[in-house]
């Protein structure tokens, strides 16, 4: 039992490497764009948040292009980024863009020597704050209170800070059980980033894949584990992908005097209110998420597809362009919304991603 996941991971890595090798070997034979040559393989590694969406995209894309095999291993964002750097993956799925010091021409084995990487947002999902409190249906929390609850500083549901924003609710005099992810995840990273940006005095820890151990609270494995702990427990609160929240109550977050629910529109709006990271190529769409702007639901996970500006092998570039292009298209976004409950990219952003992909060689 202890060996199994390791063996599985080794197998995945081995196949990923094998497929990468295949693609590199076969591509010259199959020729340039549009040629209906032999089978072609595209390898992606990365974010497990994108897993459901990627499965749908792969299925749809392969149905439309029977000659192309796409392999996406949801090994995690970090694994995806390191596989992309090592050239083992043709593209990476990542819950964060490459940081400035990670970017740079020549740093990526699969890209041409003078090529940088491009970060393209393809998957947006609101993170819901789910709760299960006796006799409470609606809950509104301001960011400082939310951070206080998850930091273990607010411990009772009838705390004045919670009562202030919920004058109508009959809050019980009961202890709060705040559930967080036991495993490393992009959801935790984006959620802790939200708390850090919106309530820096309370949430002093920086964004991190691992929930800060100092803050305590209850831990559960995976999104399903959190949902099950919250729904099975009493007077509980947790955070999870909005699409997985099911029947649980979802707390509204108070932003600039307005209580906002985690809806697809509110989530997609965050990119319209955010600026791309300055000092990068015009086609690099890495966003510095502005989680504090008015009218925007702050807890949102933005997941990227990371590709090369110029691939060493132009045939791989063509494959990436067509597959990632499908992911970011109106059709692809709709498919992801249905299959994974993602928030579709706005059409303006879809156009930006398309322009960026057109520049990929």
């Amino acid at each position: 039992m202890r060996i199994k996941p390791i063996a599985a991971a080794a197998l995945v890595t081995a196949t990923a490497l094998a497929f990468a090798g295949c693609a590199a070997n076969e591509a010259p034979a199959s020729g340039g764009s549009g040629s209906a040559g032999g089978a072609q393989t595209l390898t992606g590694v990365g974010s497990s948040a994108q897993k459901a969406a990627q499965e749908k995209w792969v299925a749809d894309f392969q149905t439309a292009n029977p000659n192309i095999t796409v392999n996406y291993s949801p090994d995690g964002s970090g694994a995806g980024r390191s596989a992309f750097i090592a050239g083992a993956a043709n593209f990476a799925g990542s819950d964060r863009a490459f940081k400035d010091d990670e970017m740079g021409a020549g740093k990526f084995a699969g890209c041409a020597a003078d090529s940088n990487a491009l970060n393209l947002p393809v998957y947006i999902s609101p993170i819901a704050v789910v709760f299960n409190i006796d006799g409470v249906k609606d809950l509104t929390l301001d960011p400082a209170t939310l951070a206080g609850i998850f930091a273990g500083k607010i411990t009772k549901w009838n705390d004045p800070a919670i009562a202030k924003t919920n004058p109508k609710a009959s809050l019980p005099n009961a202890a709060i059980t705040a559930v967080h992810r036991a495993d490393d995840s992009g959801t935790t990273n984006n959620f802790t980033d939200t708390l850090n940006k919106t309530a820096p005095q309370v949430w002093t820890a920086a964004a991190s894949d691992t929930f800060p151990a100092d803050f305590g609270g209850e831990a559960a494995t995976g999104t399903s584990g959190v949902i099950q702990a919250v729904s099975g427990g009493k007077n509980t609160i947790g955070y999870a992908d909005e699409s997985q929240a099911g029947d649980l109550g979802k707390a509204s977050i108070l932003v600039g005097g307005k209580a906002l629910q985690p809806t697809a529109e509110a989530a997609a709006a965050i990119l319209d209110h955010s600026q791309t990271v300055p000092g990068r190529d015009a086609n690099d769409l890495a966003y510095a998420l502005d989680r504090t702007s008015e009218g925007v639901y702050p807890a949102v996970l933005v997941s990227y597809a990371i590709v090369c500006q110029t691939y060493k092998d132009p045939a791989v570039g063509t494959l990436v362009k067509s597959y990632v292009g499908y992911m970011a298209s109106a059709e692809g976004q709709q498919a992801a919304a249905q299959a994974a409950g993602a928030a579709p990219l706005s059409s303006a952003l879809q156009a930006k991603v398309k322009t960026a992909l057109d520049s990929v060689k």
């Binding site: 390191s82 709060i176 509980t236």
Partner: protein
Amino acid sequence: MSQKLTREPEAAPGRPEPTPSPARPDPKRPGETVFRGFALGAGIAILAILAAVATFLLIQGSPALLADPAALTAKGYGPFLEWVLPYVFGTVWAAVLALAMAVPVAIGIALFISHYAPRRLAQPLGYVIDLLAAVPSVVFGLWGSLMLAPAVRPLFTWLNTNLGFIPLFSGQVSGTGRTIFTAAIVLATMVLPIITSLCREVFLQTPKLHEEAALALGATRWEMVKMSVFPFARPGIIAAVMLGLGRALGETMAVTMVLSGGRNITFQILTSENPNSIAAQIAQNFPEAFGLKTNQLIAAGLVLFLITLVVNMIARWIVARRAAYSGAN
């Protein structure tokens, strides 16, 4: 209990006398050579497998063990010893709690089957216990997290309100019931069949002569068990407990699903914040781990390997020390 009595009946009644094995294979009997080679090969294989596992853990874990603590803080989960210590504690603590609950019950069941139950009841009960051992751990995990945790929460609250002055039951009661106490109950259920089966076998081996002698001296049934069965079975019981401990230490899936595991060292067993077990920590974090983090998790696996090794060696030592005057071999 006299030494003379203990020594007397060596072979269990009804068993054929073992034939003396020849010192070297007889050339006229190829079966001897084949069987000897097979047995030798099997013996070597188990050593080779163990060595291979240890080598793998050492090689894959060494980057984390040798790395600079600063590098581990930046790219891993933090300095190794400081990081792994809560998990070592959690692993051992959960297993000890589980055994504290499982061992008395297991010995009770085994005694009931071997010495108290009517024959018609004893046999089916034995089968049922063995069946429990065949339930996959993921099923125990599901049961623990979906059924048991919500069900024991009221009990936890009661313990906390009425016995909260005992440090074990103090602290803020978990709102979900997914505590180390719940995990230990699940683990206890899982190790119960192993300990019961072995104990039952050992109890049945007690020489009839001892038991009859005790009864003839006017002992009650409990006194007979105390005087003849337990002294005879003690090494067997210890071996059974250690096997159960081995399973409890390494159990992954059930703990992963049931326990709300953190990184604190505490003896409170009813709160949300419990030390995680090593195996669960690896299972939870391996899917997203890369680079030094992977090495660090494998190094934690090495620590778990060493813990189980030490536990088994202690068990061997106890059994060997006791064997001399118990008559177990």
